[in-house]
Each structure stands twice: as structure tokens, then as C-alpha cells.
Symmetry: C2
Subunit: 284 residues, 2 copies
């Protein structure tokens, strides 16, 4: 997607009321060429009033680039599955936790603050190792907090989570790290993304990663489909009486910008197909 | 779908462990020609050992035809929304409840028993009336039980339900009719079908209508997409530790029979796309 279209799309999402957007990744352009313009995109996004601009970074070098570009927060994926960690980063989970320690220390020494979020990848299962024990997820999250992460996200990288596992994992991780547990990052690979979000919501989670039109997947997680569809998730939350601050009509309209920038991608989402129902405003 | 293919598909679903199947509708062939062979399909399905054969019927005449064909149960849709009821049946909700009374009385007088399930349509919203008050749903369900219905299904005919409404409605209806409330019938129109099933499950519901590959919609509910996808729902339930008695590999294999019979229909479902994950058997 051309840089100008990315920036316009982000602006439209922010205008619809999305308060925090992960706008890109500081990863080598040789590996993920689509993200080569992330510094430019961050620099533009931080001029949008009220928007929290987040960038994904794999390591200290990425975090330094994100800070230089002006990002308000970085998110660092650390795989609870050691095999997944080694395959994707050539580093073990423990080595990645140590890298988060270096990032946190470096960020802490800068004049301008930047939030450090650590995302526990494969927190609900791994395409390589299969089941990831909850104890391993707790160990990873606790290690990340000890290393200085401000907040923890639990990430269903390959979409294997189910509602009972979501509940059990959140309870165990919260017991270890308390309010540092902030975010659920869900994929809809097996059709349970929205149900998993509901389980997380009922466990007290109030921050969810989503993707407009369910865009995405993961270059390093074979079989993973897109993130949970933002507009469908917002619709559920608003229907249930939660206030997201997001204008659904405006949010749905931003799909056209996404389609213009990525004309070959399949746009997902049931709300866009069915339209906002007659019951909506009264129910909310 | 040719009758022979319908019968083969039903047999394969039963062989996969599906214990109860709604195999057709006794509605005028002039209105729904796809269902003209329902008597034949029921007569074949009742020869399958262990299968509970259900037919949808709109009135006493349909119930008599279902009984003659050998059905074990009938399900009768009664719209809680009076406008929806009048538009689809030219009868009010109250008149439809009276028809259930006639059906129950007639069935009670027969030598061979047949279960009478009443499905409260538009129980979570109506494309014509918008919000359907919970009190109206309770009134309808209570009237149906008083009229002799053995069990009640709550049906999200147009897919407007959300998890908080599911919970509130189940609690209110159960207070009125107790254990007669048996089934949730959900559509995935707005992407919340599985999340709504989860909410129902957590409220104690143990019977769910689904459709293989999310097939369906409703000829009388504009905008409604298919029922919740059976295989995705079964996968969630089994993942959470519930025993459905269904063999998922066999169930997924029956999609080929559906595709052969209805080659132009879009087959939905994330499990079929993603495959059964490595974590599955251990998690269950």
C-alpha cells in the first residue's frame, strides 16, 4: 500500500474514533518490504491529535527507530513457545525477554517517554509445539514485567485459543502480573475470535487488537488468518452497552480506503455485509 | 438438492455423530419447492438407528404430515414480533400460539408420540419491528408452554442478538418456563453467532441449532445469513471440554456431500479452511 494511502487510512480511522493504532513495524525491509516506510508513517500519524501511535519492533534497534520517529508506544512480540521463538527470531524466549530488558532500560534513559508493551505470542497454542502450557505463558509474562515491560498483551498468534483457555490463561497471568496485563490480540483462524474476545471482556480485559476488515495473518505463523475484525468487535461491544468512542458508520466507511490501497485483499467482516441493524441504536 | 443426495448427506451426518437433525419442512411446495420431498426424506431418515428426526411445520396440517411420515419431533416457528408473524403467516402471534395448542392436542391424541418444539422467532430483534422487548418474548414462550409445547427454542431469526441480550433473555424466559427452554437457534449475520452460542452455553443451554457450512438464511427474513456453522460450533464445544458425540473429521468430510448437492452455494466455516489444529485432541 502506498505511503500516502496508509497515512490517509490511519487519519480516517482516527477520525472514526479509534484511539490507538499500530501503524507499522520496524522490521528489516528485506524481510517485510511492505513495512519499509514505517518511519514515515509514524511521523505522519503522530501529527493526528489524540491518536496513540504504536509500532511493532522486534528488538532494541527497532525500538530506537520507533522512538526517533516519534511513536508513543512500541509492542514487542515474544513467543512463549521456544520453537516458535527460535524459528522466527533465532533467539530463545529467554533471550527475547532479555532484549525487552535492554529496550526498557534504553527507553527509560530517554527524555521523551515511550510505552513498552510486550506481546506474549503463541500464548494459546503454537503451530510448531502444539499446546503451550499456561505455566509457560505465566513464566514469560512475569519475566517480561520483571524485564521492565509496561504492559502485557496475550496474543493468539495462530488462532488456536478457545473461550475456556482464554479465561484460564487470563486468570493465571493476572495472578502473576496484576494490572500489567492489558491487551488481548486475537485471530479468527478457527472462527472463535469474537467469542474469545467476549470471554476476555468478561474476565475484565478492556483493550483488544483488531484489524479493519479482518486484514492480516502472520508471515511467520502458517495457517493464521486475519486479526479479529475491528468493526464486528466494536459492534458487539457497543451492542452490549460498552462505549468504545468509535463511530461505526465512519469506521465502516474507512474500508473503502483499505480496498483502494490493497485492491487484491479479501475484506472480511459480517457487519459490512449485513449493515448496521435497526435494533442497534436503541439496544446501545 | 436431489432427494437421494439429501438422504445420503443426512446419513453421513448421523454417522459422524449428529444425534438430531432437522431434515426438512412441511411447507407448501408452491412456496418453498426445495422442500417438496420432505415426507420422503423423513421416511428415509427414520430408518437411521439412533437419529432423532425433526421436521419444521408451520401449522396442524404440516404436523399431521410430519407424524404420518414418522418424524420424531416437529418444530414450529412462532414469531414474537407480531408484524413478522403477520407478514410471514398472515396470523398474529396469539393466533399462532393457538395453532400450537391445536397441534399439541392433536399429537397428544395419537398412538405414536411426537415431540412438539416451539421456536420463538425474532426473539432477539426483528427486521420489521426492530427491538423486540424481552417481556414480549417471555409472554410468547409462556403462551406456547401453556398451549402444550414440550420444549421452547429461542431463535435469532435475523441475527441481531448479542451476548448480553442472549443472557438476559435466557434468564427471563427460564424464570417463566423453567426447563422447557431447551434450544438456541442462532444466525451469524453480524458475526456474533459463535459468541452468542458461548453466552448461551454459559447460561446452561445444551442444545444448539447449527447448519453444516453455515448454510442457509431465511426466505422470510431479508438480510439473514446462514445459521451458525455446525462444525465451528462443535469445535469450540469440544475444545472447551464438552462432549458432543461428534467426530469432527467425519463431520468435515460431509461438506463434500453438501457441495455435490448444492454446487452453487458458498460453504462457510473457519475450521474447514484452517484444518483441525495440532492442539485439538490434547486440549479436549
Amino acid at each position: 500500500m502506498p505511503t500516502a494511502l496508509k497515512c490517509g487510512w490511519i487519519r480516517a480511522m482516527a477520525d472514526a474514533g479509534v484511539a490507538s493504532i499500530e501503524v507499522g513495524s520496524f522490521v528489516p525491509a528485506t524481510i517485510v518490504p511492505q513495512m519499509a516506510d514505517t518511519a514515515e508513517v509514524v511521523a505522519d500519524a503522530v501529527t493526528i491529535a489524540g491518536l496513540r501511535v504504536v509500532a511493532l519492533v522486534p528488538n532494541l534497534r527497532g525500538a530506537q527507530a520507533a522512538h526517533a520517529a516519534g511513536a508513543h508506544a512500541v509492542t514487542i512480540p515474544i513467543s512463549a513457545s521456544n520453537s516458535h521463538s527460535l524459528a522466527n527470531t533465532r533467539k530463545s524466549t529467554a533471550d527475547q525477554i532479555a532484549e525487552v530488558g535492554r529496550i526498557s532500560a534504553w527507553v527509560g534513559a530517554q527524555a521523551r517517554p515511550m510505552q513498552v508493551e510486550a506481546g506474549v505470542s503463541t500464548a494459546f497454542g503454537c503451530s510448531m509445539e502444539g499446546v503451550v502450557p499456561i505455566e509457560r505463558v505465566v513464566w514469560t509474562a512475569a519475566g517480561l514485567v520483571a524485564a521492565g515491560a509496561d504492559t502485557i498483551a496475550l496474543c493468539d498468534t495462530v488462532g488456536y485459543a478457545h473461550p475456556a483457555l482464554i479465561r484460564a490463561t487470563i486468570r493465571a497471568v493476572r495472578e502473576a502480573v496484576g494490572g500489567r496485563l492489558r491487551t488481548l490480540h486475537l485471530h479468527d483462524t478457527l472462527g472463535m475470535g469474537i467469542a474469545n474476545a467476549l470471554a476476555g471482556l468478561e474476565e475484565g480485559i478492556r483493550a483488544f487488537d483488531g484489524a479493519l476488515a479482518g486484514l492480516g495473518g502472520c508471515p511467520f505463523a502458517p495457517g493464521a488468518s486475519g486479526n479479529v475484525t475491528t468493526e464486528d468487535l466494536v459492534f458487539m461491544l457497543e451492542s452490549m452497552g460498552f462505549s468504545t468512542g468509535i463511530d461505526l458508520e465512519k469506521l465502516l466507511a474507512t474500508r473503502a480506503l483499505l480496498a483502494a490501497g490493497l485492491p487484491d485483499e479479501r475484506l472480511r467482516g459480517q457487519l459490512a455485509l449485513a449493515g448496521i441493524p435497526r435494533t442497534f441504536h436503541r439496544a446501545a
